[in-house]
Point group: C2
Chain length 133, copies 2
Amino acid sequence: MPETESAIAANDAFYSAMLTCDFDLMDELWATGVPVNCIHPGWHNLVGREAVMESWKAILLNNAPPNMTVHEATASIYDDLAVVICSEVFPDMTLVATNVFVREEGEWKMILHQAGGSVQSLAKLGDQGGYLQ
Amino acid sequence: MPETESAIAANDAFYSAMLTCDFDLMDELWATGVPVNCIHPGWHNLVGREAVMESWKAILLNNAPPNMTVHEATASIYDDLAVVICSEVFPDMTLVATNVFVREEGEWKMILHQAGGSVQSLAKLGDQGGYLQ
């Protein structure tokens, strides 16, 4: 599988974990041997695997799956690192997400997620409750 | 210079370009040989060097320097890639930025900037005019 396709497949798995509220899959997808960071829309930066996974546990286990589809995922490969940028499309708003993956034992594992949007988008996301701090 | 320090120095140069509205320095700081992306706060994803540099030209040449200081910059190195995350602190709000650099001819060059914040932060940034689409 070409590298861009395998990176986009890893990105798809990340959103599959979000859309099925599958914490175990989410946990598998994040790198274990290198630093990781996560910036949910409107949140501060979460540093380190423990803080990042705690945030996903709170999001995935306490909320209904988001009504979202993922579009326009493009991957850029820099040796053992992949930067995937995509649109998170909700019924009435769109966020932009950067997802960065590192190759760990031959598999793309996540090291960074940052999602953000316009003032209007974030305000609407806040209305859905639970996702914004 | 340790790799984390040189990556943070590149990050400092990026903010120096912003704070002095120095477009030529900004232009020098972005990679030329690999894909680049830029997601300004509240903007959509800008793809490719031409679109990214046009946005910086519009921002740097048409606005007063932002009243901002940069704090808590931390760099994580993954071989020839550096991920720097920092806080962009304005007088009454804070954004979080991810800046990713690749080593190009021995120097850290930018491939990605994404800045975002809370609903409240972005609304305040919008009040300053010019920076948000």
